[in-house]
């Protein structure tokens, strides 16, 4: 009876590890799979990486300077599915929606004036019937030139 109890406890404990991804693993994934996409731009050197749950959103707020060209890259693990992103102005108006543009994983633009923007990234809800919500690494990389 006791043996069955600890066996069950062990399986339950193991199941907790399935959706868990460490920050270090995420950053290693980003460095290996994503950072090269910033070329020929220069990365702004900041890590905006998270372990995102399916169906959730993360956002990045930053300002863009007049006269500069930028690349916004959204890099995610396959488990998150077809991730999409929007770029919003200060009034939360959508200036770019990847869902309406063949779902690219990056977007280049020129800033004619200095302005604050928000990049909002969403993972589609999981289609799995499991009670455990999958999660995966996601990073927003910004390059400039």
């Amino acid at each position: 009876m006791k043996k069955k109890y600890v066996y069950t406890l062990g399986i339950a404990a193991l199941s907790l590890t399935i959706p868990v991804i460490t920050t270090a693993q995420c950053n290693a994934f980003v460095k290996k799979k994503c950072m090269y996409k910033v070329v020929p731009f220069t990365s702004n050197g900041q890590v905006n990486t998270s372990s995102l749950e399916a169906g959730k959103t993360i956002s990045l707020n930053l300002s863009f300077y007049a006269g500069k060209d930028y690349r916004i890259i959204v890099c995610s693990e396959e488990i998150l599915g077809d991730v999409t992103f929007k770029v919003l102005d200060k009034s939360k108006r959508v200036v770019f929606d990847s869902a309406d543009n063949n779902r690219p994983d990056f977007w280049d633009f020129k800033a004619k004036s200095t302005q604050p923007l928000t990049v909002e990234v969403t993972s589609p809800p999981s289609q799995s019937t499991s009670s455990v919500t999958p999660s995966g690494c996601l990073s927003i990389i910004v390059g400039f030139k």
Binding site: V6, Y7, L9, G10, A13, L14, L16, T17, V20, T22, T23, A24, N27, K31, S43, N44, G45, Q46, V47, N48, T49, S50, S51, L52, E53, K56, T57, I58, S59, L60, N61, L62, S63, Y65, A66, K68, D69, K86, L88, D89, K90, S91, K92, R93, V94, D97, W107, D108, F109, K110, S113, T114, Q115, P116, L117, E120, T122, I140, V142, F144
Partner: protein
């Protein structure tokens, strides 16, 4: 009995390991991102799982100053001899930021010898913070191999910043990383105000005014980590005082317009913003930035 104890110990170990892995390094904040119904589509996502605040890197800021006509002047930089003064984690982090900014400045202006000196300062402070994967001997070697190629130099410096940020966040020290960002931003703004005051270059002065936006994000970034790191509070208070001065900088802006050059597939964003900085306001900002920066490097 012995068999049961063995099983219990094994599965208790698995449980402990699972709970350790389940703990999350990232702080999460939720925020309302929803818009209201208008003619133009607004974001309807109700809440973000996590919100990041990013500010332009010193390389970007310095490149703007250079494009505006700024010239190199070593007098603007934190003296390399100061590096031995920084013994606390807070002062090391802030000044890793200042020296990183100075390194960006010397590299941008092709000052190769000075770049190596500032790299060594950054290396020393990074080592002091336990960051051995950035601004290290390998970085030194890469820089030395690329001294004649400014773009490569700047990419290497940028990589080092990213590696530093990643290391600190991987190791549960995002507050230390935020201090590095703050130190770098203050130094960049200090250099900019020194150039603005000595040249009265209108474009440089405009760039000083534009820093209002970055300051707001920097304050938000520091706010999110102040509970993790006591050293952040003093810096945050100083930057909040600076923000009060910036509050009265007028920033005329309208709704962002997009235009796309279909031939080259490039989109341009324009909200028509103008950052107006009076001479009095420039002086006020310069004095406050000098005060903050001198406290950081002393």
């Amino acid at each position: 009995m012995q068999m049961n104890l063995k099983f219990t110990t094994r599965y208790a170990s698995i449980l402990s390991l699972s709970l350790f892995l389940f703990s999350c390094n990232n702080s999460t904040t939720e925020t309302e991102v929803a818009g209201s119904d208008t003619m133009q589509a607004k974001s309807k996502n109700p809440k973000a799982q996590e919100v990041f605040y990013s500010i332009p890197s010193p390389i970007e800021t310095i490149s703007l100053l250079k494009a505006a006509g700024a010239k190199y002047n070593a007098a603007y930089l934190n003296p390399i001899d100061n590096v031995s003064k920084y013994t606390s984690v807070t002062s090391k982090a802030l000044n890793l930021g200042t020296y990183g900014s100075d390194l960006s400045f010397t590299s941008m202006f092709d000052q190769t010898q000075e770049s190596m000196l500032y790299l060594r300062c950054a290396n020393k402070l990074a080592s002091g913070l336990g960051i051995n994967s950035a601004f290290n001997e390998s970085t030194t070697n890469r820089l030395e191999s690329n001294l004649q190629n400014r773009d490569s130099l700047l990419n290497i410096i940028s990589d080092s910043y990213w590696t530093t940020d990643a290391y600190l966040k991987d190791n549960g020290q995002p507050g230390v990383s935020a201090l590095i960002v703050a130190g770098g931003w203050v130094e960049g703004l200090y250099i900019g105000t020194q150039i603005a005051n000595s040249t009265q270059n209108k474009e440089v002065i405009t760039r000083i005014g534009e820093q209002k936006l970055s300051l707001e994000n920097l304050i938000a970034l520091l706010e999110s980590y102040k509970a993790d790191n006591a050293g952040i509070v003093a810096v945050l208070n100083s930057l909040t005082e600076l923000n009060e001065i910036y509050n009265s900088v007028s920033t005329a802006a309208k709704a962002t317009e997009t235009s796309t050059d279909k031939k080259n597939n490039v989109t341009t964003l324009d909200n028509g913003s103008e950052f107006t900085l009076t001479p009095e306001k420039l002086k006020e900002i310069s004095n406050k930035v000098s005060q903050i920066r001198n406290k950081i490097i002393q």
